[in-house]
Amino acid sequence: MSSSSSSVHPGMGAPGTVRVSHDHHHLGFWRKYIFSTDHKVIGIQFMLTGLVMFLVGGLMAMAIRWQLAWPWTEMPIVGKLLFPETGKVISPEFYTMLFTMHGTIMIFFVIIPLLTGAFGNFLIPLMIGAPDMAFPKLNMIGYWAMVPGIGFAIASFFVEGGGASSGWTAYPPLSTIETAAPGSGQGQTLWLLALTWSGVSSMTGAVNYVTTIVKMRAPGMTLMRMPLTIWSLLIAALLQLFALPVLTAASILQLLDRVVDTGFFTPTNLVVNQFNSEAAGAAAGGQPLLWQHLFWFYSHPAVYIMVVPAMGLASDVIATHARKPIFGYKPMVYSMSAIAGLGFIVWGHHMFASGMNPALGMTFMVSTIMIALPSAVKVFNWLGTLWGSRIHLTTAMLNALGFVAMFIIGGLSGIWMAATPVDIYIHDTYIVVAHFHYVVFGGSVFAIFAGIYHWFPKMFGRMMNETLGKVHFIGSFIFTNGVFYLMHQLGIAGLMRRTADPYDYEAFAHLQPLNQIISICAFCLFTWQIFFVFNFFHSMFWGKRVGRNPWKATTLEWDAPSPPGHGNFDHELAVHCGPYEYASPLVEEDYLMQSRDIGAKPAKA
């Protein structure tokens, strides 16, 4: 950065000091838009990439839904293109690959990049009053580290055997023995590389976020005056820092099992597909369960990496458009921290059916059931915020309300999965699919939509069209519930996941019509996103221009120009009150900005 040249000792100083430097910034196209070190550009890069991958992952979901509604039938439009050799029909091998890559892409290349990558990058410096991230170059590297990850994931479809097909959980030995599945050849190796690169991206991001939040807040921005979005991103970054390295270690061990025939996860005497791995010279004696422990040690916290920032975004959107302070700010902070802390000791709930020690299962059950408590506290506090508020039903607010309505469902259904005896029955059934889609789609995706509609004016200096936005919300809300709600009932009937055609079973033959309804809703949901795509790109160039603070919000980002220029703020900042001083009696307006000095202690109420 040109700014650091004026300071001998960058970043070193007494608390609350300001380092002022003048910049003369004239960058070419490549440095400005492609290899940019500006957190805002990087945030938007993450957002566009995430949305494109959302389309890819969504298309896979559509193919999955086609197969579940009308198995082994000719797929319209794309069938001829994709599966000429199987008669335009999805093959069972391809089906396993579809849901594996759907999960992988949605988690590692859509939700995590959108929440932490896009919103983390764009909002952290702006909301704490910083000119940029602590390490802008590292930030750029973080984005570009994700790109090879995506490349490997996409490339895996074109290698022999096709993409990885042992589920996004990649349980060995299915994933480590090449003959176990067609996708366990090169596809699985590429999958592991994709994961590793996505890990590098998350890791650089997390180091940057934590350092920035801890070290670069504007004067007066104490920890307990930080917007909940910042808290949530800080907590998510800490989760990544402590959980992700374990997955990295595990992925590398799996990679070694595959490439140099070590035997970490391969037990003795396996004969897979007439192929004896030991006779072929691979080590043996390893433990497949070990992978599950390592994998879920990361991937359970990953669930919270995917939902805690969504909670933060929704909180900010709700307070702003309800024109009322967040009810119970501190309980909100504590409950998010509790979710993160407990998140490290609940991973075993994915393994109740695995043959893990049953006493351990009981411990994991208690911690998992208790993790519902902080989530419940958050829901009550959102409702408390809405009570007595002045709701403006903007598109952003509608999406945030949708988030609350659906997160409730996802949270409540989790209790069944935590209860060990009940989980014996529902493990690996569609009720699990319903549960996590309510959390990640009904929850996180709607919070992402809320965030996009809310911060779009800050990102591009223009409004998104509200009418189109509302049309988008109404359809998305209806069809999302149409898709995922009935999956609860399918699961209660015992229908299992990851099954290309369940209708040969006597027990499930009658469930096909229900699956057809779900699939039709899914196709509608997918198509309905046209309203969003059109609105997003149209508004980027032709939306109505807005000033600095279109929503009359209180947090610091609304002090900057829309869109903010290089260095974000064109004036000095100081924070004088908490983040949610809406309806404050101290001022005439119904909002008191954090940066506004009214010469009095903020009102206590």
Partner: protein, 255 residues
Amino acid sequence: MRFLATLLFLALLVFGVWSFQAAESFGAWLPPHVSSFGPDIDALFKLILWMVTFFFILTEVVLIYCVWRFSKKDPSKAHFTHGSHKLEMLWTAVPAGLLLVIAFAQMGAWANIRFPSAFPDGEPVAVAWASQFDWRFQYPGADGVLGTMDDFESAHDFVVPAGEPVKFILRSRDVIHSFSVPQFRLKQDAMPGMAIPVWFQVDEDRPGDYELICMELCGWGHYKMAGKVRALPRAEYDAWVADQQAQFMSNGIEE
């Protein structure tokens, strides 16, 4: 928008409760249970269902009311408050208590299904072998001991006596599979490298054929990895075993 939004959230609530009510009528509900685990697991499922339904209705109703009541055009300011210590205590303590009750309620049933102390005494009736993509069941021969020369094998069908505890060993020859019989409320992964003991008891009055389903992804043929559990009254079961043993012996002689 106010009406529409209220209606939308109300619709979710109504649909949410209704679809659970109506699920049984379109066949998407718990299949009738036929094993000794059934009553416990179903009761716990319903206990949670009632509690979850209560909180679902409570929270969604408040949400709907807020959307309806507080999105009216109103130039006055919102009620200015940063929270209430009392309410926080209330809505932390009450769910915490309920969740603890739920957690403790599970323990007995879990221990009964999985703890070694709950397992029936005696030798396992068979070893269930899972492999891509079928089930095989290895029974002890006339000597009553597993793993000897006279063991006989049953492909696809797992024949067990009804009305008494059945213990078997679950193993896999290749990847992870899962032994699952929905009507038994039983599911256990078959983990390569591990011999996992499993037990269940089919109700005495419910002998019959039950679908055995692999519920852990095991490769391209996962969807069709089916088997059958045939629960026979004791006398028929004994006869079947004797018949199989005899068949095995005679086969051995012919070869």
